[in-house]
């Protein structure tokens, strides 16, 4: 029996093992990162003090913290007042978590200017600051229908009702979201929903059709819309109808009887500038033509400012009408 017990004990030693050393190895996030005290280990720094977005440059910010925490980077243009917000929940700010591509969260868009950068932390009073200078602002790829910076194009046409206080003009105040100018649409028309409209005809761009891709699933229409309550009623009365007329038979003009007209109506319920984006293939329309979205045969983009005739004064504005491919505009 003694030998048998020794045999069993020998087997237990055999079956025992030397597991690889797990010392220093932990599973999951470090508890210190979740519950530890908060400290700023290294200060907030931009990867470069000057950035030329037009040349394809980006800037990112670095900072090391003692734990994982919710943080917010607020970048404010000193001249434009534009604001970019970047949020994260990390221990480090780095290229992955804190890169700024020159885009804007709150309009207007950034200009060539100095920007104040502020880093704040959830539940902590510490605030870090730095400055970064934009040598050239971000440029957006796409086909610009209108940004009103060079005045009125003679091939654009307009219809404005003869109501009270009608103001359908290119203005610079309040500040435009993109550069300096925008198109204002306001007035009181108490007999019709339509207060005025603008037709952006393809002829303004040197052709019978606007030069766009033929893939409506990959094409986005973007416009920055100004919302404001009417005066003196204080109600949001405006709505904008965007219309897209296709010259399907390519005879140089749109015929509503046998060609497609697509549309999208936006009711305005906000104050200030807001980006509106929709995919071309999502537009709904008359279906009088082939009932297929053909953006490459787009003959005219119309912007109609509408308001309930009984509601009184209505006001809105538009700026930076641009078609982009692959993705909506990142202003």
């Amino acid at each position: 029996m003694k030998n048998q017990l020794l045999f069993l004990l020998a087997l237990t030693v055999l079956f025992s093992s030397c597991r690889k050393d797990e010392e220093g190895v932990i599973e999951g996030p470090d508890l210190n990162d979740v519950y530890g005290p908060f400290e700023v280990v290294s200060s907030l720094e931009p990867s470069q003090s000057n950035v030329d977005y037009a040349a394809g440059e980006d800037v990112y910010f670095t900072c090391e913290l003692s734990k994982v925490i919710d943080w917010q980077l607020t970048i404010t243009g000193q001249t434009s007042g534009a604001e970019k917000i970047i949020n994260g929940t990390t221990k480090f700010l780095d290229f992955e978590s804190a890169t700024w591509d020159g885009s804007t969260t709150y309009f207007p868009m950034f200009k060539a200017e100095d920007c104040d950068v502020m880093l704040t932390f959830s539940g902590e009073s510490d605030t870090l600051y730095t400055i970064v200078t934009i040598d050239q602002p971000k440029t957006n790829s796409g086909f610009v229908i209108a940004d009103f910076e060079t005045g009125w194009n003679p091939n654009w046409t307009t219809f404005i009702q003869s109501g009270a206080g009608m103001n359908f003009n290119i203005l610079t105040t309040p500040p435009a979201p993109q550069k300096t100018s925008y198109y204002n649409m306001e007035g009181t028309v108490n007999w019709d929903w339509l207060t005025g409209l603008v037709d952006f005809n393809a002829s303004a761009y040197g052709s019978t059709t606007i030069p766009l891709s033929d893939n409506g699933d990959n094409l986005y229409f973007n416009v920055i819309v100004f919302g404001a309550p009417g005066v003196p009623n204080g109600e949001f009365n405006s709505r904008i109808l965007f219309r897209f007329d296709e010259d399907e038979n390519e005879d140089g003009s749109f015929n509503a009887n046998n060609e497609d007209q697509w549309g999208f109506e936006q009711i305005i319920q906000w104050e200030g500038w807001k980006l509106i984006t929709f995919k071309y293939s999502d537009l709904e329309g008359s279906g009088n033509g082939g009932n297929i979205h053909n953006p490459d045969k787009l003959n005219k983009v119309s912007v109609l400012h509408l308001a309930d005739p009984s509601s009184g004064h209505a006001k809105s504005g538009i700026d930076y009408l641009i078609f982009t491919e692959d993705a909506p505009l990142q202003p």
């Binding site: 048998q4 017990l5 069993l8 597991r19 190895v25 932990i26 599973e27 979740v34 530890g36």
Partner: protein
Amino acid sequence: MKYILIILSITICSFSGLAQNGKKVQFVGGARSLITNSNFNSEGDTTTVPRSSGGNTLLDLGFKINPNANTEILGMVRINNEFGGFWGGGVSFDIRQLYVRGVAADIVRYQIGNIDYKLTPYTFYNHNQDILTSSIGTTRIKEDVLNYESFYKENTWRQQGASVNFGIQFPSVVQEIEFNGFISRLNPTNFANILERLYGGGSAVITQSKHFKLGVNHVSVFDLDSTATDSSIYKNNVSTITYDIHFGDDQFSYGLDGESGTGFSRDSYPTEDIYNVEDYFIHFRMYLNNKDKGLKLSLGYMDNGPDFRSFGAQSKRINFNRDNSIFSRYTNDQVLRSISTYDVYNDPSLYNTGITIGLMDYNPIINSVLPYGIATFNRRGVYLGINYTDVNKLVKVDAKVYQLSEIRGQGTTFLKSFFMGNVTTTLNAEKFWEGDKALTLMLSINQQNSTRDGDMEFQTVDLNSTQINLGVEVELVEDIFLMGNLLAVNAEGTDQYPVRNAEGEIINYEEFSVEGSEVNLSGGLRIDFSKKSYLACMYECYSNNLSINDPYLINQASLFYVLKF
């Protein structure tokens, strides 16, 4: 071949019951009727409807057909009539069980359809991780109902598939090799992003002599490629060896047994692994059995790697992410009522009927030491087991004590230590005075403690829980029993509960803090009509103050009628 004799003894002996009474068609199954009336009370709660009554009558009617001596077909239909159902309303018909089994060519035993299957504790095994105390009386009745509803039979999982079994006996060197194999379907494809997922495996158990047995086991969860447009292939493979070396005779024996192996879990695209963990485990135990003195001792060691994954053995019975179905919301804010001991014993909808791929959540109050059973990963340590039954069957004691620790720290290099003691004592008191009416007491206690030191307070863990189940059955007159139970859970302390993503990786922690208790006091009367049928009525008072702000009470009266045939 002359040295190999294919002997059918295993097969034929185990299968001889198929048509033992010679009947071509038999009716098997069971019937149960349950009526409950519950009263919920939470202080200041004027929103929750306080009373709930319901119940059902169900019949599981099975047709067992023996078309020949080697084949058996079972089809079982469940007819369920909700209490108050009438003329078809509240009545449902389901297929509860369907299989064909038999012996092919007088060699291979097979079963196709519903199979209740298990292999070894680390490969494919239905551990009972969430009811750690044993019971008699009222809680025993409820446990039986839950087990029946969830198809839990001796640690098997219900699967839909096929299994085979056959044995080969040898004249020398090796006495016998027994082969087992199974394949089952875990989920069908949706022809989009979910692939056909199967679960299969088997074992070969070699009996060299009466002193030595060696098994080789393998199970695999795997996706069938090209059964959906998604190209992500999941696989969980576990391979183990089991062994049992022992000496002595039927009266006195001692030996060593155990199981060791590896397991990996992988989610991969054709070109890269997006998730891949692999680890091994070692588990062995020395044991001594003295039948004369009714004593069994065991001393074991286990080392289950932190990345060891075996979902056939780590699937939990209770899904703690489900909402309970009785008084699921309470307080004036109608917050979700978390799963309590009351629900664990009363709500079959919380229980899984099959294995789950992925690490399931657990309740640290119920089991923080071995939340996934003995196959729990990231555990290393020893345990001691004592089982004593006195020769007159007066007293039976079953005790096990674990002292374990983590192998890899969670969020810190400090490791958690775990202690679990589990003692169940059964006293057949009538044997003291040689009475002819049974008087049985069972006291089952489970004590757990999880601790972790740390440099910082948030690293420290100290969680204690105690579960007690005291049951009494008194035979008043022949076949009529008075039952009483005290089921209590007490927990206090704090822990850092790991929050895992779909791949099982820890992504965060939840601070788990508890100080309170649950108490369920119940009593009732059971009338045994036969060994297979009884009528029981019981009343229970349950209180829960684990949530300090929202304690509550549930009083419930129940009537059970259970019949098996």
